[in-house]
């Protein structure tokens, strides 16, 4: 018992001494990307600023002990300190800035239960509120070098819009379509911190092209940015080609929505093509309702 007490006192003394030598500040974005591997690519997501004078008791080197908890305090992930990297205080006394890859190296983080399964299958944790805690520790016996700092964050997988109207393979009457076509889509979920810019693009599919090939090749007939709204009325101002008696193909179009954040970057850069583009769908314009056209291209 005496030994235990004396060890605890020793730890307290060292920690207090080190705390005077090392100061640190944890900054975490309140709504970081849901894809945890993406944290390392964005400087603004997580930052740990460590300052201290070299020669402090415990040495100039330290490791970061990181834990992720649910709001009820259950630890769902912790850093494997035997494997995490060692950091050295800046010899000039200038602050050392550590980013997500240093503080939360995913290759050395051990996740538990359903969180581990979720991360392996989706790269994300289930949507909800979490707490990330970090503190520097000594490199051999992991004695804390100061108080733990914790920050709350909210994780939610960003879902790109689903295209609603015209629905996939809808055949529009040319008489109506040449005056106005209504486009509708669902909003980005969850609601983003700043209004989303929806860039709507419509491409003509040429008879020799597949729809996705047309999207990746052609100049869009419509390329319009709509702020925060999920409907757009397009006046195409086009003369649709007449029904082709030989190929029996209808004029075909493919449309998609690209969702952009306030900096004009895709709202999600890790899903699908990385361009924040929703799954495109096609629609046809039938210039002659009396003809039975071949829809496929």
């Amino acid at each position: 018992m005496k030994k235990l007490i004396s060890t605890a006192i020793a730890i307290f003394i060292v920690a207090t001494a080190m705390a005077q030598g090392i100061k640190f500040n944890l900054i975490v974005n309140a709504q970081p990307p849901a894809q945890l591997s993406e944290w390392g690519n964005r400087r603004e997501v997580l930052m740990l600023i460590v300052t201290g004078q070299p020669g402090a008791p415990g040495g100039d080197q330290f490791k970061i002990k990181t834990e992720i908890k649910t709001t009820d305090g259950t630890i769902i992930a912790s850093a494997d300190l035997a494997k995490t990297p060692v950091f050295t205080l800046n010899s000039t006394g200038a602050p050392t800035i550590l980013l997500a890859n240093d503080v939360m190296p995913l290759e050395f983080m051990v996740f538990t239960g359903k969180y581990k399964t979720s991360l392996e299958r989706t790269g994300k944790l289930p949507a909800g509120n979490y707490i990330i805690c970090a503190r520097p520790v000594t490199i051999t016996d992991y004695i804390p070098l100061g108080e733990e700092q914790c920050k709350n964050f909210y994780l939610a997988s960003t879902q790109l819009p689903i295209l609603m109207k015209p629905y996939n393979e809808e055949v529009l009457d040319a008489k109506k379509a040449q005056t106005a076509i209504i486009f509708r889509w669902s909003p980005v979920v969850p609601t983003q911190p700043s209004p989303v810019t929806y860039r709507i693009q419509v491409f003509e599919v040429l008879p020799t092209q597949s729809p996705v090939q047309a999207l990746r090749s052609n100049q869009p007939l419509l390329d319009k940015e709509v702020l925060a709204a999920t409907q757009f009325i397009w006046q195409p101002q086009l003369s649709f080609l007449p029904y082709d008696e030989e190929t029996k193909k209808l004029p075909t179009f493919i449309w998609t929505i690209q969702s952009l954040d306030a900096s004009h970057n895709p709202v999600t850069q890790t899903d699908g093509s990385g361009e924040g583009r929703s799954e495109p769908i096609i629609f046809f314009v039938n210039p002659d309702k009396n003809k039975i056209p071949k829809k496929t291209n």
């Binding site: 609603m164 040449q178 005056t179 209504i182 909003p187 052609n218």
Partner: protein, 588 residues
């Protein structure tokens, strides 16, 4: 420079081949007899052509840029798709479709202006495919758009080499190549997004009897080369992915069918992330990084197809981490189920097509699960020779929690369309009168206040088409009224249009002209005006050579709803091209 070379060389190639086909062979010498015999065995059929597209835009007042060009100023497209049939068992089809000027706006080639040769041939706007086939063995060379299944690969063109072997009922397929070249990021303007060079591999082993069954194992892999772009793209990550799927189709008697596919994908979202011992690798195919995911997908369709009744159920599940290189725009994390039906009744005078289903997004995260209801109905009835009625109804509803906001997202779209058509037949003329009314309602809930705003649209169209039984002209006329009302904005559009099509030059020429005028009004601003004129001329120069031209012009003048007041623009478009169809067998 490359563009010029391509245009010039392709033009001469087209002309040379066209001339060769057009030439008649004198049949007096022995050599010609041999040639004739060879020609009997060799059959060449297909098409080739060249099309020019021109676009013009004039905006006023000068310096105003409120309207952007929407087509390339100039474009030349070529197609050359002959099939050389050397014997009953040996054929050599070509599929060359390419354009002189890159116009990519989305995807890896977005913004590229001066491609290298490698970038030119792998650009999705160009295809250079060659598929020599001997009996059941096909060699695949150049650009190929191969669809193995719904969950493995199908949307991407790959330039490379492979084969498709089908001995008896067996299937052995393999293809490897490059689907995109490395493209350096350019800050612009114009911005070039940039891309990493992507190598692709795909294979299929299985057994198939057309119309009876298919059972196959698919494998598709793609891997980016992280060093292939310098500077690299800013927002795109180098990726690697593999998908393995098992597909099974069964077509039974009496029209019953069963189609199923199960797939597993292992996908690394960022090859720059460190290797991870915590995640299972699928060696030797893929080594796990911290951004590697492994997830599943499956789809099942069961139903019956008949003469008067189709009934089918389709279920599709895509796990949140399911991703495949072969379908780059696939939206994962969803469960779709739909019931589809088609009914023909009343001696085929009544036709009903309907589908009902639901799409659930964010399946894994119940807190933000989004549900989308889908319902479509199209009901057509031919009551008599002179009267038919078409009714359609579409409903899309989207509902989900919205994260930290007090109210969830709820958007509901309803569309109802009624379209009666009357036909009156006279001695010399048939009158067709078609009325169409569509009501569209779109409700959106504000996530902060919980208030729902309604967006209502009414569209009415009246069309009159007289068909002259003894004349070669076919006119049609229509009037349209469109009204959209949303809090803060009211849009009214009224359109008058007339078209006339006719044949000329001993039926060798088909002409069609259209004129359309639209008067538009936004709130209480002055009206805007739009006039569109277009003309099609299809001229059959010879039995095999056609010349098709499409000319259009569009004038739009704003009211005072934008600054500068009275701004206007004129767009002009021209598409003209020659198509030569050939078939040496039919020529004889």
């Amino acid at each position: 420079m490359i563009r010029k070379k391509i245009i010039t060389s392709s033009f001469f190639l087209c002309m040379f081949v066209a001339t060769s086909f057009a030439q008649e062979i004198p049949d007096s010498s022995l050599l010609n007899k041999v040639k004739d015999k060879a020609k009997e065995k060799l059959n060449i059929s297909g098409t080739m052509g060249i099309t020019y597209e021109g676009y013009g835009l004039s905006r006023k007042p000068s310096g105003w840029t409120g309207y952007q060009p929407r087509r390339p100023w100039n474009q030349v497209r070529f197609n050359f798709t002959p099939t050389f049939k050397f014997s009953k068992n040996f054929s050599l089809p070509f599929n060359f479709n390419f354009a002189a000027i890159p116009t990519n706006f989305a995807g890896p080639y977005a913004g590229i202006k001066k491609p290298t040769f490698g970038q030119f041939i792998t650009n999705p706007m160009n295809s250079f495919g060659l598929n020599p086939k001997y009996k059941w063995a096909e060699l695949q060379l150049g650009t190929q758009y191969l669809k193995y299944s719904e969950l493995s690969t199908g949307d991407i063109g790959v330039f490379g080499i492979g084969f498709d072997l089908r001995p008896k009922t067996f299937l052995f397929k393999f293809f490897t190549g490059v689907s995109q070249q490395g493209i350096n990021y350019v800050a612009g303007p114009p911005v070039v997004t940039g891309a990493y060079k992507r190598r692709n591999w795909m294979a299929q082993i299985g057994t198939e009897k057309e119309g009876k069954y298919l059972f196959a194992l698919n494998f598709a892999k793609g891997k980016d080369v992280p060093t292939s772009a310098a500077p690299p793209p800013l927002t795109i990550r180098p990726q690697e992915g593999i998908v393995i799927s098992l597909v099974s189709d069964l077509y039974l008697e009496k029209g019953f069918y069963f189609k199923a596919e199960g797939a597993q994908s292992t996908f690394t979202k960022d090859l720059a992330t460190p290797l991870s011992p915590n995640i299972k690798s699928l060696k030797p195919f893929i080594e796990a990084h911290t951004s590697t995911l492994t997830d599943y997908a499956g789809q099942l369709a069961v139903g019956k197809k008949g003469k008067n009744l189709d009934l089918g159920v389709m279920i599709k599940y895509l796990g949140a981490g399911f991703q495949t290189i072969g379908y780059p725009f696939l939206q994962s994390d969803r469960l779709d189920y739909t019931l589809n039906t088609r009914i023909n009744a009343w001696k085929n005078k009544m036709n009903i097509v309907a589908s009902l289903g639901q799409r659930v997004n964010n399946v894994k995260n119940t807190a933000l699960r989004a549900k989308q209801f889908i319902g479509n109905l199209n009901w057509f009835t031919q009551f008599s020779e002179s009267f038919s009625l078409n009714v359609n109804y579409n409903n899309f509803g989207f509902q989900t929690a919205s994260g930290l906001n007090p109210f969830g997202i709820k958007n509901v779209s309803n569309d109802l369309g009624i379209n009666p058509t009357f036909t009156f037949t006279g001695k010399k003329i048939i009158h067709l009168l078609s009325l169409s009314y569509n009501y569209s309602k779109y409700d959106e809930r504000d996530v902060m206040t919980g208030l729902t705003t309604s967006n209502n649209t009414h569209t009415g169209v009246l069309t009159y088409v007289p068909t002259y039984l003894e004349k070669e002209i076919s006119p049609d006329f229509s009037v349209l009224y469109f009204y959209n009302n949303v809090p803060g904005a009211k849009i009214t559009l009224a359109t008058l249009s007339a078209a006339l099509s006719m044949q000329a030059a001993k039926k060798k020429m088909r002409l069609r002209g259209q004129l359309q005028y639209t008067l538009g009004k936004l709130n209480s601003f002055n009206s805007n005006n739009n006039l569109i004129a277009s003309c099609n001329i299809d001229f059959k120069l010879t039995k095999k050579l056609t010349w098709a031209t499409f000319l259009t012009t569009n004038y739009f003048k704003y009211g005072n709803e934008i600054t500068p007041n009275g701004a206007n623009y004129v767009e002009t478009g021209c598409r003209t091209g020659f198509q030569y169809r050939f078939d040496t067998k039919k020529q004889k």
